[in-house]
């Protein structure tokens, strides 16, 4: 499904923002909110995994239904999951397209990555001693 | 112990009655003393003009509004950029320079003390943070009360003591220096997009008039024995015909203090317009100065404009919006809850505009028509009329009829008939200029006894030595030398240390902030007044306990305590 990737702040994302290694953070930041009709069209249920692909890359998220999300839109809390597929083009303004990245959403069985794994994919090394 | 000996100085020190004597100045640990040991560092002033450090009694250099002027002006920051060099930090900006830019340029011009013209108490912390980054001048902040709800309530109750109590509490909370009224009542009306048009018009919802606010605040100010008088930006700024409001205002000012004025009227140029529209605007400087010349209780400053691009910024929000509707450039507005307003727009004063030419002429007329230079101080309401770096040009204009004539010849047509400037022969002398740039300010601000504005024994050793030989320069003819001479001191000495030499800053600054702790009787302490506390907690958006500025924001605070009144 072709759609617009929209991102924004949410209370749970904010509450766990200083606990990025936690399961709670992973669960709030990796949720992809879709209009229930779109979920039906994709043949997926609440909690199923989806793969979101953009020119910048791809990411696996957990699909969650949300009535408030428009058709052909996917909403993800700001954070490393959304950013894994957002282009760094800023149109000369310094600001990337955090709210208007075009994306392709499809069902997948691939596993969800942790924040540490995402950072390792960028060349980092996860620190896990706290 | 550090000692400095300035020899061969040609001193003009109006407060001590010294006018061009060649003398030596001894300095120990930041103060002027009788004599120093032979180990003292020596500066040979070579008979150059030596004055007490310059004092700006009305400038906008720090705080929310000034910083917003910078924030919205990247185009101005491209002007005046300098690199880090020695002790000097990077600077940017011409009409709204960075804090270091302001401080270095003032210092290069020999200025050592500044009064920030407008500080909203709620945002006072910001002003004080910028003061610490304006290191080469001692600072003080006029505190805004023009739309203060608690003040207006007390004024409505005709309660001078209560008014004084609110002022005292607020000044202390804001670490402020004196009372500033900007378009009194008008800034509250602007809260709902309205303005007032005269001093006897009621402030909506508060049932007081500007006249009542002004007179009650004057009496409260004197009851509190504040060092400075009420500092007023009159109503109706910048409107053709507004001179009548200004005269009416002057007429209600009593003469209450033998030591200084009872009212400081700021940037009067903007308040001295005749006519009724921009088309027939004219100068009413003669009427204004006629009033001031017979009212020793009033001191004003010029509010001179100079041609070029600059930024207007004032607590007078409605005036800025009106100006914006004329200019269609960018406009910022920032109203402060329960206290005041503010507005900012960039302007260009052009010689092609007859209105601008008349404004330019009025400022000069005010200075030339005021008999006593202590009653008309040299300011541009920086940066509203012009950035302060233009002061030397203004000095040149005041000292030279020839310079004025040359400038007048380049103005738009139709100006001559609407001002008296072209006919004025007066040329101010060095002593007049010394009064209008330091002695007058020190007296008006009430800081002579803090050791400011003079070079007597015990005074703070703030000294400016200009590369000007008054015995050989004829300012009337050689006005360019005057202008150049005042642009860059040979030495600026701040509290006994040479801070700037030939325009270059050579040490880190260590300024002080003066503030007034006005004492009130125990029963008038607002922090114990349940009604005041209740209203505060209800309508402000910060808690009362988080409102006062902590001492940590004034690392070198100088508290001036007043006597408690009865």
């Amino acid at each position: 499904m072709k759609c617009i990737l929209n991102t924004g702040r949410t209370v749970p994302q904010g509450a766990y923002v200083e606990h990025k290694g936690s399961d709670a953070y992973r669960s709030v930041a990796s949720a992809g909110f879709l209009n229930p009709v779109d979920m039906m069209m994709l043949g997926i249920e609440d909690g199923d995994r989806i793969r979101v692909t953009t020119p910048a890359g791809h990411i696996v998220l957990t699909a969650r239904p949300a009535e408030g999300v428009a058709r052909d839109e996917i909403f993800v809390a700001i954070g490393p999951y959304a950013n894994h597929v957002i282009s760094s083009e800023t149109h000369g303004t310094g600001m990337p397209d955090f709210k208007s990245q075009s994306a392709d959403v499809e069902p997948t069985k691939e596993p969800l990555k942790s924040v540490g794994e995402l950072m390792e994919a960028l060349g980092g090394l996860h620190y896990d001693r706290t | 112990m550090t000692e400095l000996w300035v020899k061969n100085a040609c001193v003009i020190d109006p407060i001590r009655g010294i006018n061009g004597e060649i003398m030596d100045i001894a300095i120990r640990d930041g103060r002027i003393v009788e004599s120093v040991s032979d180990r003292a560092d020596v500066i040979d002033a070579q008979r150059c003009l030596t004055l007490p450090g310059g004092i700006d009694s009305h400038t906008h250099v720090s705080g929310t509004k000034v910083n917003f002027g910078r924030y919205m002006s990247p185009e101005d920051m491209r002007a005046g950029r300098t690199k880090r060099k020695g002790k000097m930090h990077v600077t940017s900006g011409y009409y709204v320079p960075t804090t270091f830019g302001n401080s270095y340029r003032y210092s290069a011009m020999g200025y050592t003390t500044l009064l920030e013209g407008a500080m909203a108490p709620l945002e006072a912390r910001h002003t004080h943070e910028e003061f610490t980054a304006t290191p080469h001048q001692d600072m003080m902040a006029n505190t805004l009360f023009d739309g203060n709800w608690a003040v207006m309530d007390a004024v409505r109750e005709k309660d001078i003591r209560k008014t004084a109590a609110v002022v005292a509490w607020t000044l202390k909370a804001a670490r402020g220096y004196g009372i500033k009224l900007t378009n009194p009542g008008g800034t509250e009306a602007w809260g709902f997009g309205e303005d007032l048009t005269g001093i006897h018009e009621m402030v909506p919802h508060f049932a007081v008039t500007p006249a009542e606010i002004i007179t009650t605040m004057i009496r409260a100010n004197e009851l509190l024995k504040l060092p400075h008088s009420v500092h007023l930006h009159c109503n109706n700024l910048g409107k053709p015909g507004n001179y009548q409001t200004t005269l009416e205002t002057f007429d209600i000012v009593p003469d209450l203090n033998p030591a200084r004025q009872t009212l400081y009227a700021t940037h009067v140029q903007f308040h001295a317009y005749g006519g009724g529209t921009w088309k027939n605007i004219s100068s009413k400087a003669e009427e204004i100065t006629r009033s001031v010349n017979i009212k020793p209780q009033i001191v004003m400053d010029m509010g001179q404009i100079m041609f070029g691009r600059t930024m207007t910024m004032t607590a007078d929000g409605p005036m800025e919006f009106n100006l914006h509707c004329l200019h269609h450039n960018k406009w910022s507005n920032h109203d402060v809850e329960l206290e005041t307003g503010s507005g900012i727009i960039p302007v260009t004063y052009s010689k092609k505009s007859a209105v601008n030419c008349i404004m330019w002429a009025i400022g000069l007329e005010l200075a030339l028509l005021t008999k006593n230079p202590y009653q008309c101080l040299l300011e541009t309401d920086n940066p509203n009329g012009a950035p302060f770096v233009k002061y030397p040009e203004i000095i040149g204009l005041l000292m030279s009829k020839r310079y004025r004539d040359e400038e007048c010849a380049t103005l738009a047509t139709g100006v001559e008939q609407r001002t008296s400037l072209f006919a004025l022969e007066r040329e101010l002398d060095w002593h007049d200029i010394a009064v209008m740039t330091r002695a007058g300010q020190a007296k008006a601000l009430g800081i002579v006894n803090q050791g400011k504005g003079h070079l007597g024994i015990g005074a703070e050793a703030d000294i400016a030595i200009y590369p000007i030989r008054t015995d050989s320069v004829d300012p009337a003819r050689e006005y360019r030398k005057v202008v150049e001479g005042f642009q860059k001191t040979r030495y600026t000495i701040k509290r006994g240390r040479v801070v700037s030499r030939e325009g270059e800053i050579i040490v880190d600054g260590a300024n002080a902030t003066f503030w007034v702790d006005a004492k009130v009787p125990e029963d008038l302490k607002m922090e114990n007044d349940p009604e005041f506390i209740k209203r505060f907690e209800q309508f402000y958006t910060v808690r009362m306990s988080n409102y006062p500025v902590q001492d940590v924001y004034l690392p070198r605070g100088r508290r001036i305590e007043t006597e408690v009144f009865t």
């Binding site: 702040r9 509450a15 990025k20 950072m119 | 690199k83 943070e129 960018k330 406009w331």
Partner: protein, 429 residues
């Protein structure tokens, strides 16, 4: 022990009415705060000591060693980037600017990926605004455009707008009309008297249409603009023009969607136009607790609110060129110092990935996504929890953050001061 009137440092609301209960140097209870405040104070897990990445893993190092190595990294760089600053106090931010000026770095703060476009718009047309108390005491019309305070600024509506009792608005809920404009039907939209659902990227066109209608050019406007009916827009203009005091708050829905700062410019010009009829103000809902403070400090010290490049000695500013995401995307910088922020999580992937390719140091109380991309992580105090200092609220009101407890960490201002001293041959700023 109960601490009263504590300031929450989390978001730009800087609510200053929290009550904190502490026991033996630990915070045990937070009252009056929202969920974000509670989590900020109660759930504060820190990195215990400085760490350094090795070939195979992570090792603990001393503060002295971490500071010295950081200084060496910065000293050797041809284009260092100093980024973050928005979750710490003004005192640390000031030293950051001095470091940047000393070493010819680019310094940028998090507004670059937040309200940077709002700043660009303000630089074009100015900003008619006010402190939040003006809105609380006066506003009878509130517009939330492209923002979701229920989620991002949970107490904004109860402290300053919809539900706040004001002097001229004693019955807030009855007397205030709330309009919400968004692409999503958010929880904020749920409480609106009027909800305007806009198609993605349609904000600019809708704002233009509103301006034209305010100016009496209604006939030019087509029947539907970006999914919004002309009738609804006419109705909204009527509500605005007859308001006694209107306030527009906007968020990332305007700054981040296509057109970026032009959307905000258009919203400001609408506000300007409405001021010819009544009183109207507009304000960005700023995110990080002290992001506005970083703008203020950068401005008074350098002249520019963010994205300042000192490479040539003077301060140069050009968002799109000197902004952190662009500098990382182009792979320009060869060292980075991150302070009080998490670009690893908040920057697009290629920008974040460059941090792992260069020596990156992060100074932050918490382990975050950027930790993994860094060579060194130096933990420090958290402003407003175990460090005091100034923060600027979203409306420019400066508030002193309190030190509520002591956890034995070094203040980031102190760490930065030591780095500065190293770089400046032992002399302070």
């Amino acid at each position: 022990m109960i601490e009263h009137d504590v300031v929450c440092p989390f978001c730009g609301c800087l609510c200053d009415d929290l009550e904190l209960e502490t026991e033996e140097g630990k915070i045990v209870k937070v009252q009056n705060g929202c969920a974000l405040a509670e989590s900020t104070f109660m759930n504060d897990v820190r990195l215990p000591a400085p760490i350094r990445r090795t070939e195979t893993g992570w090792e603990d190092i001393s503060y002295t060693e971490a500071i010295k190595e950081t200084a060496e990294i910065l000293q050797g760089a041809d284009r260092p980037l100093l980024y973050g600053w928005s979750s710490t106090h003004v005192e640390a931010q000031s030293i950051g600017v001095h470091i940047a000026e000393l070493i010819g770095a680019v310094i940028d703060n998090t507004s670059t990926v937040c309200h940077g476009p709002s700043i660009l718009a303000i630089q074009e047309v100015g900003h008619p605004g006010c402190t939040l108390g003006q809105v609380k005491n006066r506003a009878d019309v509130i517009i939330y455009w492209g923002c979701n305070p229920v989620e991002a600024h949970p107490r904004h509506m109860s402290r300053y707008t919809t539900y706040a009792t004001g002097f001229f608005v004693p019955n807030a809920q009855l007397e205030r009309t709330v309009i919400v404009v968004d692409t999503r039907r958010t929880d904020t939209a749920g409480i609106a008297d009027e909800f305007v659902q806009i198609e993605h990227g349609g904000d600019y066109a809708v704002l233009s249409a509103l301006r034209a209608i305010v100016r009496g050019k209604t006939s030019v406007i087509p029947a539907k603009i970006a999914g919004v009916s002309k009738e609804q827009l006419i109705r909204i203009v009527e509500i605005c023009k007859t308001a006694k005091f209107g306030a527009i708050f906007f968020g990332l829905g305007l700054t981040m969607s296509r057109g970026k700062y032009k959307n905000i410019r258009n919203a400001i010009e609408l506000t300007d136009e409405l001021n010819r009829h009544t009183k109207f103000v507009i304000s960005p809902l700023r995110g990080h607790g002290n992001v506005y403070g970083s703008n203020e400090v950068f401005t008074w010290m350098t002249g520019y609110p963010f994205a300042v490049d000192f490479a040539r000695g003077i301060a140069f500013y050009n968002p799109g060129e000197t902004t952190a995401v662009d500098i990382l995307r182009r792979g320009e910088c060869d060292a980075a110092l991150i302070v009080a922020s998490d670009p690893g999580a908040n920057f697009p992937r290629d920008a974040a990935a460059h941090l792992a390719k260069i020596p990156t140091v992060i100074i932050d109380p918490h382990v975050n996504a950027t930790t993994a991309l860094s060579r060194i992580h130096i933990p420090c105090t958290a402003a407003g929890i175990d460090a005091a200092g100034t923060a600027y609220r979203m409306d420019g009101v400066p508030i002193r953050l309190k030190k509520v407890i002591d956890r034995g960490y070094m203040d980031d201002a102190e760490i930065l001061k030591k780095i500065y001293d190293h770089l400046n041959g032992g002399k302070g700023p």
